[in-house]
């Protein structure tokens, strides 16, 4: 073996060199295209950058002043909170129930599994388009059924009225998120040790007692993680709102991300858009801390 080869081999063996070297590309990538843009977004919020005039001038808190005087911003903030809280409450209950089904054994289970995962596996833009058609003002099959049963005289116009539009957006989003949350909870259910389940069986514990005294307490941390994941995906999402209502009618379903998009990309005011999006950050930080705590709790099992 020549000395050069020997030296190269030694280098390829040294963990103190290899470990950082292997990690470097990932760290550089993330810093360049997540860390830097995050700081840039922060800087934009204090500037007057627009698509037409991208030169950077510091304007202090002017953008925030403008936002605070904007009633649509407050409406979006309130809608974001309503949207997140209601869809998460629904998601926890439905996902827990769905996870119980996915873990049970029955015939044709794969068909059921395939179908219940469809809302999550389908690209959101396409499933939202499918719902846009379901909720059509004239040809909605839901309205047709209600009309045929005699519950309504004329069509409901789901996306045209304030409260109904909000309810529709929440329903469609929940429909989409539940399978993901169910799969995460399923992972938690699978990790419950068999001997605990067997002991409960021997003691003759019924379904509800087992549910309340074993599965729910033991899967609580994983349910928490699933919920927080869902919450992050909910208050940072604008796809369902954008496709179903574009924030309408009259901003009744406008949420922070869709409003930031409208301002930042729609009207090209990057600075204002960035300032609006920045209000997602405190929510995000709170969710991140909570997730970290739940994961820590899971590790203590």
């Amino acid at each position: 073996m020549t000395p050069l080869q020997h030296g190269r081999r030694r280098l390829a063996d040294r963990e103190s060199v290899l470990a950082p070297l292997f990690l470097l590309p990932a760290v550089v990538y993330i810093i360049a295209l997540v860390g830097f843009p995050l700081l840039l977004a922060l800087a934009f919020a204090f500037s007057d950058v627009t698509v037409g005039n991208p030169s950077f001038d510091w304007v202090g808190f002017d953008n925030f002043q403008a936002i605070f005087d904007d009633s649509v911003f407050w409406r979006s903030l309130r809608n974001t909170l309503i949207f997140t809280v209601i869809s998460m409450a629904l998601t926890v209950v439905l996902a827990k129930a769905l996870a119980m089904i996915l873990i049970a054994d029955f015939r044709f289970k794969w068909v059921v599994r395939f179908l219940v995962l469809l809302p999550w596996t389908t690209p959101v833009a396409l499933s939202a388009v499918a719902w846009l058609w379901m909720l059509d003002s004239v040809y909605s099959p839901i309205d047709w059924v209600l009309r045929s049963l005699g519950f309504i005289e004329s069509n409901v116009y789901w996306l045209g009225k304030d409260t109904l539009a909000m309810a529709s957006v929440i329903a469609v989003h929940t429909w989409r998120i539940v399978p993901l949350a169910a799969v995460i909870i399923l992972a938690g259910l699978i990790s419950i040790p068999d001997d605990i389940k067997d002991a409960a069986e021997v003691d003759g514990a019924g379904f509800w007692r087992k549910l309340w005294e074993i599965t729910i307490p033991l899967t609580l941390p994983v349910i928490a993680v699933a919920t927080l994941f869902g919450a992050v995906l909910t208050f940072t999402d604008m796809s369902v709102v954008y496709i179903l209502t574009r924030g309408g009618p009259e901003n009744a379903t406008q949420v922070l991300p869709s409003y930031a998009f409208l301002k930042g990309i729609g009207s090209g005011d990057l600075a204002q858009g960035a300032a609006i999006a920045l209000f997602l950050f405190p929510l995000l930080l709170a969710a991140a801390v909570a997730i970290l705590r739940s994961v820590k709790k899971m590790e203590t099992f």
Binding site: L38, T122, V225, P257
Partner: protein
């Protein structure tokens, strides 16, 4: 007397056992019925828009646009013309090709950057590797909605706006963190002895990683590739913000923006597009579901 009592007790006892056994059986039967009921109910709730979409895709205009017609049956004979319209008169094929092309490069880039990083965090001894693993994962929580505005500028400065390259460069910011996390789980499941044996046999740490570890991590690599492709098909906000020419659009923005022209909705073709994309992705997901669950629990619980 004593014997008689004992006999009566035994009879009462077995009757009691019999009763409770029957009660148990009834409870079981109700449980099964409830299970099936709930399973069928949730499958219907999940699939209803797609079922109706499939029926819609094959309907004649005259059948579809009559609000008195039963929407769930064919009142006129079904037609395939709207499905073929999708392929001949719209850019659906271009969108599909763009999505596959972006997905392929995103997958390659993610693996090239993510695999070594995951190996470094899973195997090589380093201070801070635990904290770094968690930090990389939290990058995933930084949402596109917080970054798309400044990234629009970054993409413009790089000269990539209106090109699929903008997505190829930006999507790995989402796929790398998730993939590193998934791959750590898979790599930890590979026995250390195999690499150590290879190193005793004269391989360096680097060649052991390339020749022994990577082939064994194949299931994890497949999971990452599927994830990269599905993300490319799913992602909406970046694509909407970065790309406006039709020929550079992916499925997820192409279908809703190009098949809805102003007030004109090509409903049958739209539904056909949704089904054609949804079904293959759902199949891939179902095949890999078990692996994703293992990856998740290994990464989270034993990370």
């Amino acid at each position: 007397m004593a014997v008689a009592t004992r006999g009566r007790l035994a009879v009462a006892d077995s009757a009691h056992v019999e009763r409770s056994r029957r009660r148990e059986a009834t409870r079981h039967r109700f449980g099964r019925a409830g299970l099936y009921l709930f399973a069928i109910g949730s499958a219907l709730a999940a699939a209803l828009p797609f079922v109706w979409g499939t029926i819609t895709a094959f309907k004649e205009d005259a059948d579809l646009y009559n609000s008195e017609n039963n929407p769930f049956v064919f009142n006129l004979d079904p037609t395939g013309e709207h499905v073929s319209f999708l392929f001949t008169d719209t850019d659906f094929v271009t969108f599909a090709v763009n999505t596959l092309w972006v997905g392929l490069l995103v997958a390659a880039l993610t693996l090239a950057v993510g695999l070594p990083a995951a190996y470094s965090l899973a195997r090589l001894n380093m201070r801070w590797s635990g904290a770094l693993g968690i930090a990389i994962f939290f990058v995933y929580l930084v949402p596109p909605t917080l970054l798309f505005i400044s990234l629009t500028r970054v993409v413009a400065i790089l000269g990539l706006q209106d090109s699929t390259w903008s997505l190829i460069v930006i999507y790995p910011t989402i796929t790398i963190p998730v993939s590193v996390w998934l791959l750590i789980g898979f790599l930890k499941a590979i026995p250390r002895d195999l690499e150590e044996q290879a190193m005793v046999d004269g391989y360096s740490r680097l060649t052991a990683f390339l020749r022994i570890v990577i082939p064994l991590a194949l299931p994890g690599i497949v999971a990452v590739v599927v994830f990269a492709f599905t993300l490319t098909a799913h992602e909406f906000i970046y694509a909407l913000a970065f790309i406006s020419p039709t020929e550079a659009k992916t499925i997820s923005i192409g279908v809703p923006t190009e098949l809805i022209r102003g007030d004109v909705f090509f409903w049958q073709s739209l539904q056909a597009a949704a089904i054609l994309v949804a079904v293959p992705i759902a199949f891939a997901f179902n095949l890999l579901l078990g692996r994703f669950i293992t990856g998740f629990t290994m990464g989270a619980v034993k990370g």
